[in-house]
Amino acid sequence: MDATVPPNPFDELLKEAQHLSGDDTREQIVSAIFQTSQAICKETVTYTKQEKLHETEKLDRIFTSKIWGFPIMLAMLAVVIYITIAGANVPSSLLAEFFGWLEGYITLAFEKMHAPEWLYGILVLGLYRGTTWVVSVMLPPMAIFFPIFALLENYGYLPRVAFNMDRLFKKSGAHGKQSLTMAMGFGCNAAAIMSTRIIESPRERMLAILTNNFVPCNGRWPTLILLASLFMAAGYTGGWKTLMTASVVVAMVVFGIVVTLTVSWVLSKTALRGVPTHYTLELPPYRRPKIWDTIVRSTLDKSVYVLKRAVTVAAPAGVLTWVLANIHIGDTTVLAYIAHLLDPFARQLGLDGYILMAFILGLPANEIVLPILLMGYLSTGALTEVDGLRSLKQIFIDHGWTWLTALNMMLFSLLHYPCGTTLINIYKETKSKKWTFVAFALPTGIAIAVTFTTAHIAQWLRFI
């Protein structure tokens, strides 16, 4: 360094300020501001309807009550999922039938043009079938689920969920605001990682980042709902069947929250030790949402967003899967080869090689895990044409699925590593390769441990 460096004026200023500053400076500043606000309001605001002011408090006494808070929360979730499942079946089948009908004409057109077999394979059997599957399987539940969710959000119920959860988070050594970022994760984990910025302390922020993945996002809701409705209520019919299915999905969400709290607790006792900071969670007033605006916007924005992501990733993935399924090594295809390779390990988790491969190829976006799996299964030539949910279940059963396979796939989907976008955001926010790796490895480890346990317990108890 240069010996003639003039003293940095900034440092001097800082030193002087520190010298002058007292312990209660912040307190004095804040109270002066509060007093000014109060004085201004006293002169400018008049309240004419005292009873109206307490409406929010009255509702909050119910929604955030110690006794009723949690039951209401679970009931709401169950109702939302019930409506989604009950409403999605018919349009899903209709869409699948429509795309199947269209495929017939496309096939005719290809035959007329004398298109080569491989081109037909890539474009129709790979690309077209892959993308139309995503649309028919995912669009109806999304178009029902997202608007209802958005209505609850805009009404102001979601912050009450956070409020109810707040105590649990504090007990697990995390920041109460983590309940907010977790609730955000129900929409999109990648966005929720950004929202952890509202947590001041780096330690607590890291907890929120590492555990955000344990709540299902837009990309995983369809998988959970679909698998639950296909496999989890086999012995029931009609409304009971839907109710059972909804309960299973609710149980999944609750389990995800339990894992979130447990992992937070363990981390806050070990790698991220510390005491939770105190803060006050503000509850916004209940506001009647603009119902049509909300429905239209969330259907268009969210559903189309998720679908676009699924289709843009699923389309190339469909092509890739088809190519892999049609390139032969010896007497087996590359796809079958990889699936076969993964199979022994996957069996230990109650899955199969194709499912695990779908999760691996699905790293860029959770939306495409199910489509890739279907393409993988279809490429083995088990079925030539598919219509509706019934035949969808048949595909799974033909590949040896039981309710346990479905349960383990749901668990793995709920707990496994975050999607590529989320991982990129985690790296951007933490600027640490180490923590990004932890954010990848920790959930993956838990997903493997949990599915391994369920698979083996079920076998041991001879459930299967």
């Binding site: 300020a17 500053s21 501001i33 004419t48 916004p284 506001r287 603009k290 916007r297 924005d301």
Partner: protein, 245 residues
């Protein structure tokens, strides 16, 4: 830079006051909004034209204070101080004015180009809350415009007020918070030094206050600004560039 001058508007306010809704109304964009504090953590940018003039509008993260307690508060604070928007629009929830005013008062310490926007007037009316707009405006020393962003009410008046402010047709006299005697004495002691080091480029009284509060991140942010902006910075700047050769 284009030939046409473009005015910059910053949207500040507590979380969940409808800033994003207002942002969408003004820009015609459809940023996701929700009844949900903390929805916006990174600032969003949009554009609109009013009376043939271009405006750039920045939706800052919603915060309760600008004391840089967290990353989002720092984003909001830095934008108001360093980007020097032509107008800072402080959006307040009319149904919770007292709590919301705290942030408005903090912004008024940072800049005098402020318009206070009372949002959710429809809600306030339903709840029987009556606000004396003229008196509030006089108390704060800046224009106060009542609106209901989601019903698109009051937007014309707001745009007109913005236009008049950027053209210098509105003189503001932001209210000054008087602190306790000890704090005021300390500010008085620190103020000459702040002016010497920082110059007139930034609000000296506010900076002195932040420094007394132990806000070091602000000083770091100030230090990393282009040096020619700072009084007496030329020498310091030369030294830096010499070192880097």
């Amino acid at each position: 830079m284009t030939n046409n001058h473009e005015y910059t508007i910053a949207l500040a306010g507590n979380p969940n006051t409808g800033k994003s809704t207002l942002f969408n109304v003004l820009t015609g964009l459809r940023q996701h909004t929700g009844n949900w504090p903390g929805k916006t953590v990174v600032h969003a940018e949009g554009f609109f034209t009013y009376k043939d003039e271009q405006y750039r509008i920045i939706d800052l993260p919603g915060t309760y204070s600008l004391y840089s307690n967290s990353a989002d508060e720092e984003v909001a604070r830095d934008f108001i101080i360093f980007a020097k928007p032509d107008v800072t629009l402080v959006v307040l929830d009319a149904t919770a004015l007292e709590r919301n005013l705290n942030l408005a008062l903090q912004v008024l310490e940072m800049t005098d180009r402020v318009i206070v926007c009372l949002n959710l007037m429809d809600e306030a009316k339903k709840k029987g809350i009556i606000i004396d707009i003229a008196k509030l405006s006089k108390k704060l020393g800046v224009p106060v415009v009542p609106i209901s962003a989601r019903n698109k009410e009051g937007i014309d008046e707001l745009l007109e007020t913005i236009a008049r402010m950027v053209h210098g047709e509105i003189q503001t006299k932001p209210t000054k918070i008087s602190y306790s005697r000890t704090i005021e004495e300390k500010i008085a002691k620190l103020l000459p030094l702040v002016k010497e080091v920082i110059g007139d480029e930034y609000p000296a009284r506010w900076i002195a206050l932040r420094l007394l509060d132990g806000d070091t991140s602000l000083l770091h942010a100030l230090q990393s600004q282009p040096h020619h902006l700072l009084k007496g910075g030329a020498h310091y700047g030369c030294h830096c560039s010499a070192k880097s050769i």
